[in-house]
C-alpha cells in the first residue's frame, strides 16, 4: 500500500506545483477559480435573504408533513440516485492509465492490494460529494431542513435525521461502488465465458428497466392525486427493484419513526452488500490487470486524445478500433486543387469526414439565426430589423468560424511535421489554412444572406453589405485564432487551454474592434450600409493580412517538440 500512497501523493503534489509553476498556467487557474467562485461558491456564502421574505413564505412557517410523505419523498430521491448508480454497473471500472500497465502491473504488488486501494479511493470520492454539498450549500439547506422539523415534539429530531440521511447516502453510494466493481470485473474479463455473462446481465438490466417503466406507467394511469403518488412509491415492486433505496430510506427515517431496528436492518443490509461486493471483486482481482491491458488500454488512446483536445487524434483512434468507418467517395475527392490549394482540399476533407454532423448542425443553426429577422419583418415592420439581421449574421459567422478554427488550428500544429516539408512558403501555408477554416462560415453567410434577401426583399441593401463584410470578417476571425494558437501552442496541457481561451478573447477584441467599430460607426453616421461594409471589410482584410504575416513568422520557427 505504501508505494501506491507515495505514487498518489507525489502525483497530486507535483500536479498542483506544476499548475502554479508558470504565469500562464497561473493566470488560467486564477481565471477559472474566480469564475467558479463567482458562479457557485459566492452565492452560497452570501447572507441569506430569507429574513427579507414576506412572513407567509418564511421557511420557519413550514408545517411538518405526515410520515408517509416524508417516506415517499426520501425513497423517491434515493431511488433516482440509485438508478443513476445502477446504470453504471456495466461500465469498466478499472480506470487504469497506460503508465499503470507498463510500470505498476509488472511489480510484485498484489492485484488485490491495488484493487483495495482503488476501491478506497473511490469510496473517498463518494464521501467527498456530501462534503462539497455541505460546504457550499449548508447555510441555505440547514435553514430549510430545520424549519421542516420545527413543529416536531423533539427538536433533536432534525440533527438525528440529518445524520441518518448522511449515513444512508454514504452507505448506499459505497454499496454501489462495491457492486459496480464486482460486476464490472466479473463481466469484463477477456475469456469467452464473460461475454456470455455480460450478455445475460445486460439483458437482465434492460428487462428490469423496461418492466419497471411499464409498471410505473400502468400504475400511474390510476393516480388521481397526491395520495395516489404516495401509494405508488410504497409499491412492493418498486421497493424491491430499488432495494438499496429501500434500505437507505429505512435507515434515514429510523429517528423519526422510532423504529430503530428497521434502521439497523437497513444499514446492516447495505453493509452486507458492501462486503459481498468487495468479496466478489476480490475473487476477480487476478483478472483486473488483464482487463485494463486489453480493454482499458485500448480505449486509453481515445481518452488521452480527448483530454488533450485532439479531436482528429481521438477519431483516428476510434477508426483504428473499428468504431468509425471511412466514408463514401464524395465530390470533394474529385476536386483538383493543386499547390497550396491542396491544403484547403485537405481541410474540406477533414471537416466533412471528421465533424460532418457538427458542421450540418452549425450550418443549419446559422441559417436559422440569419433567417429570423427576414421572417419576422413582414409581420412586424420594425426599425431594428436590419440591425438584428446584421447581428445574427455576425453571430452565426463568429460561432461557426470559431468552432472550426479552434480545433482545426491545433490540428495544424499537431501535424506540422507533415506540412512543413511541403514546397510552399510558410506564408502560403498559413494563408491557405486561414482561408480553409473560414470557408464554411463564408458559405453559410452567403447562402443565408441570399435566402434572406429573397424572403424579405426590403433587406437587400443589408444582404449586399453582409455579402461584402462577412467573408472578410470570417477571414479575420480565422487568422486571429491561428495567431493566438501558434503564440500559445502548448496544446497538450489542459491548463494552457484555459489560458489560450482568455488570450483568444483578448486577440479577437484587439483585432476585431477597429473593423467592427468602423462598420457600425459609419452605418450609424448615415452612410450607405454597403460603404460601411466596404470600409469595415477592408480593415478586416488588413487585420487578416497582419495576423497571417505574424503567424507565418511564428510558424516558420515552430517546433512541436520544444
Amino acid at each position: 500500500m505504501k508505494p501506491l500512497l507515495y505514487l498518489t501523493y507525489r502525483t497530486l503534489v507535483n500536479g498542483i506545483v506544476r499548475a502554479l509553476s508558470s504565469p500562464r498556467r497561473l493566470i488560467g487557474l486564477l481565471f477559472f477559480t474566480g469564475y467558479y467562485f463567482l458562479i457557485f461558491i459566492r452565492p452560497a456564502m452570501m447572507p441569506s435573504r430569507g429574513m427579507g421574505m414576506p412572513p407567509s413564505v418564511r421557511p420557519g412557517q413550514l408545517e411538518f408533513p405526515p410520515m408517509q410523505v416524508i417516506d415517499a419523498f426520501a425513497f423517491g430521491i434515493l431511488a433516482v440516485l440509485s438508478l443513476f448508480m445502477m446504470l453504471g454497473v456495466m461500465a469498466q471500472q478499472t480506470g487504469f492509465k497506460p503508465a499503470d500497465v507498463d510500470v505498476l502491473f509488472p511489480t510484485p504488488i498484489k492485484p488485490r492490494i491495488v484493487l483495495v486501494f482503488r476501491m478506497l479511493r473511490d469510496y473517498l470520492f463518494t464521501l467527498l460529494l456530501p462534503f462539497v454539498i455541505i460546504l457550499f450549500g449548508l447555510r441555505p439547506a440547514k435553514m430549510g431542513w430545520e424549519s421542516i422539523f420545527r413543529n416536531m415534539p423533539n427538536s433533536d429530531f432534525s440533527g438525528q435525521t440529518f445524520r441518518a440521511l448522511t449515513l444512508s447516502w454514504i452507505l448506499m453510494a459505497m454499496t454501489w461502488v462495491s457492486i459496480t466493481y464486482a460486476i464490472s470485473l466479473f463481466i469484463n474479463r477477456s475469456d469467452r465465458q464473460s461475454t456470455r455473462n455480460k450478455r445475460v446481465l445486460g439483458w437482465s438490466i434492460a428487462l428490469m428497466v423496461i418492466s419497471t417503466a411499464s409498471f410505473v406507467l400502468w400504475k400511474s394511469q390510476s393516480v388521481q392525486d397526491m395520495s395516489g403518488v404516495l401509494e405508488l412509491l410504497r409499491e412492493p415492486f418498486l421497493r424491491t427493484v430499488f432495494f438499496t433505496a429501500t434500505f437507505a430510506t429505512e435507515l434515514t427515517l429510523a429517528p423519526l419513526t422510532g423504529n430503530i431496528w428497521s434502521g439497523v436492518l437497513g444499514g446492516g443490509a447495505m453493509i452486507f452488500l458492501i462486503g459481498l461486493g468487495v468479496w466478489v471483486a476480490m475473487t476477480q482481482a487476478d483478472w483486473m490487470y488483464d482487463q485494463a491491458a486489453v480493454r482499458g488500454f485500448d480505449s486509453a488512446g481515445v481518452r488521452q486524445a480527448q483530454r488533450r483536445g485532439d479531436t482528429m487524434g481521438a477519431m483516428a483512434e476510434m477508426a483504428r478500433m473499428g468504431k468509425i468507418k471511412s466514408g463514401r467517395e464524395t465530390f470533394i475527392h474529385r476536386l483538383k486543387m493543386p499547390g497550396p490549394w491542396a491544403l484547403v482540399w485537405k481541410e474540406f476533407f477533414l471537416q466533412t469526414r471528421g465533424m460532418m454532423a457538427v458542421l450540418v448542425m452549425l450550418g443549419l443553426l446559422g441559417i436559422a439565426f440569419c433567417l429570423m429577422p427576414a421572417v419576422i419583418t413582414p409581420r412586424r415592420n420594425e426599425m431594428g430589423v436590419p440591425y438584428f439581421f446584421v447581428l445574427m449574421q455576425s453571430m452565426s459567422l463568429f460561432m461557426i468560424t470559431l468552432a472550426i478554427a479552434q480545433t482545426g488550428f491545433i490540428e495544424v500544429l499537431r501535424r506540422v511535421d507533415l506540412q512543413k516539408p511541403l514546397p510552399f512558403s510558410p506564408m502560403k501555408v498559413v494563408a491557405a489554412e486561414v482561408f480553409a477554416k473560414a470557408a464554411l462560415g463564408i458559405g453559410v453567410a452567403v447562402i443565408s444572406s441570399l435566402i434572406s434577401g429573397f424572403v424579405n426583399p426590403s433587406l437587400w441593401p443589408y444582404v449586399v453589405a453582409t455579402l461584402i463584410y462577412s467573408p472578410a470578417l470570417a477571414l479575420m476571425l480565422s487568422a486571429t485564432v491561428f495567431l493566438v494558437t501558434i503564440m500559445f501552442p502548448d496544446f497538450d496541457d489542459p491548463t494552457q487551454r484555459q489560458f489560450r481561451g482568455i488570450m483568444m478573447l483578448l486577440g479577437l477584441a484587439i483585432l476585431g474592434l477597429p473593423a467592427t467599430g468602423a462598420f457600425l460607426g459609419l452605418w450609424a453616421l448615415g452612410l450607405p450600409v454597403w460603404i460601411a461594409a466596404v470600409v469595415g471589410g477592408a480593415i478586416c482584410l488588413a487585420m487578416t493580412a497582419l495576423a497571417t504575416f505574424i503567424s507565418a513568422k511564428f510558424y516558420e520557427g515552430f517546433n512541436p517538440s520544444e
Binding site: 507535483n14 507498463d102 510500470v103 510484485p108 490487470y289
Partner: protein
Amino acid sequence: MLEVSNLVKEYKSLRAVDGLSYTIQPGEIVGLLGPNGAGKTPALRCVAGILRPTFGEIKINGFDLVADQSRAKAGLAFVPEVPSLYELLTVNEHLRFVAMAFNRLDLFEKLGDDLLKRYNLFEKKKALVATLSKGMKQKLALACALIHEANVFLLDEPVIGIDPAGVAQMKAELQRARSEGCAILVSTHLLDTAERLCDRVIIVARGRKLAEGTLAELQAMSGMEGNTLEQVFLKLTEETNEAPVVFDV
C-alpha cells in the same frame, strides 16, 4: 530462470499466443523474433504478469506466476516497447517508486544516482517525466528495470528510439547482466542486433513457435547453411506472411 510451458492467450475468439513453450537459463540472452502480429508482445506481457494466460504455465525463478505472483515478479524486470511512465512524477521519484514497489528502497539509496548518471539522467533528476524526450523516457524505463537487481529481464524492442550511444550502452548492459547470470528475453525486429546479441532465438508466427535454436541450428533446420539470420528468418516465416493476424495490446 524463466520457464514457459504451453502458453496460450486468447481474446474472445482470437488466439494471440498458441501453445508457446521455451526455457531461458541463467546467463542466456534469447531473442523472440517474428513478423508483425506474430504474438510477441502478448507473449511478453503474459510473462510480465500484465495479461492473464488462458492456459499454460509460467515459472520465474521457480515460482508460478499465477499462483505465487509476488515472489515470481520480485525477480522480474519488464521494459515495454514504448514505455508509458507516470508523467507527474519526477525522474528520481519514478525510480524511487519502482524501488518501493519491489520493496528494494535500499537499492534505490545505493544505486539510484549511479544509474541516473549512467543513463545521462542525473541532470534531469528533478524534472517531471512529462518533460523528457522519447529517448530519455526509454532510458528511464531501463533504469527502472535495473533498480531492483532483477535476474529475469523482458525487453520489448529495447533499442528502438534510443541514440547510438544508448544502443551501445544497452547492449553492454545486457551482456553484463548475462555475465552476472541473468536470464534475458528480447523481442525485436532488428535481426542483425539479435544475431550479434542473442545466444539463441525463438521465431514465432501467428502465435506459434516456428523454430528455436542457435543460428547454426536454425541454418541447419532450414537448410540454409552459411546464410544470415535475416535470410533464415525470411525463409522460415515466408509461408505465414501472406495473411498476418493483426492485434495490438
